[in-house]
């Protein structure tokens, strides 16, 4: 094992896949000498040259489509969108083209495209550079959505995403880029579509993604001191959504909280809770299922306001205490 950052893990996955498969290339804005807005591709230009680290003009709508076209032709493009908020420009090519082309042509084509984009708040970048966009694309059949939470799963998931024959939206978190974690020396994969039990526990299941996994781990430490044992399930892939592990966990803990950074309303939490409500795990519940999502606001600039807009460690602790206490409708 060795220790690297989340950012380095993503870079390593790309470098190793590009060495192995000449069909893989990276395209996006300022990804060359600059290394991308967050330095993820730093140094890659030197090894792979300007055609495989292909810098684009500021034309997200079209260069996302260029990725789709190249993928149709058997390439395996990785398209970097500088901030996930800019995916609105890419939306037609992602939603109407990449996601639908295979279906509407009767299975004639595969689109092995990865779109990488950093999302999330906490950097003081305000409303247009901070949104968690998971839910924007959660409703789109034909794509997969991956949200890595640490260096180990970021590297393993990105390799799986590059090898996948479907369009994969790979949503990184800006606050995680410099977080360190251990990864194996050997080549490995983390499969898509399989949530991970981050921590076992008995009293409540917390389902998380991305940065919220870290916050839930911290919250769980505090809660254990109070005698509340928390199980944490990190989704890793939110689409297709696999709730089997969650069902199993809920049958054990009898309580469920979904913590997510995106806006509360229309977010992933509602869907996860609906799935559990429809499953026989519902019969095992000792408490209503709850969501703890971001506030329904654009991400504000001021540091305190920004913190208040999305779940923090103390919010998770409070919510868990509330659920366990049992006085829900007082």
């Amino acid at each position: 094992m060795r220790e690297i950052t989340y950012k380095e893990a993503i870079r390593e996955a790309m470098i190793e896949k590009m060495r192995e498969d000449e069909k893989v290339f990276l395209m996006g804005e300022d990804i060359g000498v600059y290394g991308g807005a967050f330095g993820v591709s730093m140094g890659m230009l030197k090894e792979f040259g300007p055609w495989r680290i292909l810098e684009t003009p500021m034309s997200e709508a079209a260069f996302t489509g260029v990725g789709v076209g190249a993928a149709i032709m058997g390439m395996r493009p990785i398209v970097e969108i500088m901030f996930a908020d800019f995916l609105t420009f890419s939306a037609d090519q992602l939603v109407n083209q990449a996601a639908k082309l295979r279906y509407m042509t009767g299975g004639q084509v595969k689109i092995p495209l990865v779109i990488r984009a950093p999302q999330g708040s906490g950097t003081g970048a305000a409303a247009q550079h901070s949104q968690n966009v998971e839910a924007w694309f959660f409703n789109i059949p034909g794509i997969k959505i991956v949200v890595p939470s640490n260096p180990y799963n970021a590297k393993g998931l990105l390799k799986s995403a590059i090898e996948d024959d479907n369009p994969v939206l790979f949503l990184e978190h800006k606050l995680l880029y410099n977080k360190k974690g251990k990864i194996p020396e050997d080549d490995y994969r983390v499969p898509l579509g399989q949530p991970h039990i981050e921590k076992e526990g008995d009293d409540i299941t917390i389902v998380t993604t991305s940065i919220m996994t870290y916050r839930a781990i911290e919250a769980a430490k505090k809660l254990e001191e109070e005698g509340i044992s928390v199980e944490i399930i990190d989704l890793l892939t939110i689409k297709p959504l696999n709730t089997e592990i969650i069902e199993k966990s809920v049958k054990k803990t009898h309580r469920l909280l979904v913590v997510y950074e995106g806006c509360l309303t229309g977010g992933i939490g509602g869907e996860i809770i609906a799935k559990i409500a429809e499953s026989n795990a519902f019969l095992y519940l000792d408490a209503p299922m709850f969501r703890l999502g971001g506030k329904d606001v654009p991400i504000p600039y001021n540091k305190n306001l920004e913190r208040a807009a999305v779940p923090q460690i103390e919010d998770i602790i409070k919510k868990v205490r509330f659920i366990v206490k049992g006085d829900w409708y007082a």
């Binding site: 990725g67 076209g69 149709i72 032709m73 058997g74 042509t105």
Partner: protein, 323 residues
Amino acid sequence: MLTRDEKLAMLEKMLLIRAFEEKAEKLFMRNLVHGTMHLSVGEEAIPVGAIFAIKSTDYITSTHRGHGHMIAKGGDLKKMFAEFLGKDTGYCHGRGGSMHIADFGLRNLGATGIVGAGIPIATGAALALKMQNKSDVVLAFFGDGAANEGVFFESLNMATIWKLPEIFLCENNQYAMSSPVKRFVPTPNISDRASAFGIPGISIDGMDVIAVYETVKAAAERARSGKGPTLIEAKTYRFKGHSKSDKNLYRTKEEIEEWKKKDPITTFAARLMEIGDLQQNEFENMKEKVNAIIEEAVKFAIDSPEPDPKTVEKFVYADEKEN
């Protein structure tokens, strides 16, 4: 120079597109069509001239008005009619309909219902060809409406800076649905936009199949030799309405009749007769041959089964077990 046989083959292909479109409209009138259609009657010279000018190994991207592109590329009429009628034997197993007929094997990379969205896909295909050191080119069809979409400009820019093997072929049929091109394009020609990118921009008579052929041939040579894209605007006219709901409220009968005098099929046939390449009876035989092909294809489509509703979730992801 085109041989007599090649010219006759072009005429026959145009007749085939015309016959397909007219039959499609009849099937629609007979209530056999669930959805809509966008007919290209009057515009046949462009797909035929353009696709005769490229190699069969070259690629195209198509549009919502794409029947002609698919037929010119060698599309299977049985699968086309079957798709039009929503049958399981259709190109897309009834998932796409008229607007999404594609044949990736024939290197038609798809028809999109989102105006302009095929253009960056064509640019991406051209980028892949360049990366793979292939000598094929990509011919992107789009309309005058698409020439006002942002992705048109963005793609033209990228294809130019990267010198991609791509031909941008605008089928200017004078109307984006009901909006006249004169109202929404401030310069006389859409091809004027090429000057912003420093590439050749050429406007031609899109009713003249030979003009289309020669212009696209030169653009294909330029693309293949690594010099980058060309923007071609072929001026044409849509004889039929935009789609099934069109009542032609935005144009006059006189205007339509005026353009019909330039019918790309009758004018080309007349030219071939004038130079002795075609006799009237040969022309009649050709029409009969085409009609027989159409009838056989329609019969196949009508007799074909519908897709099983149980398969509705098939083809969403590439890794489904059933595929």
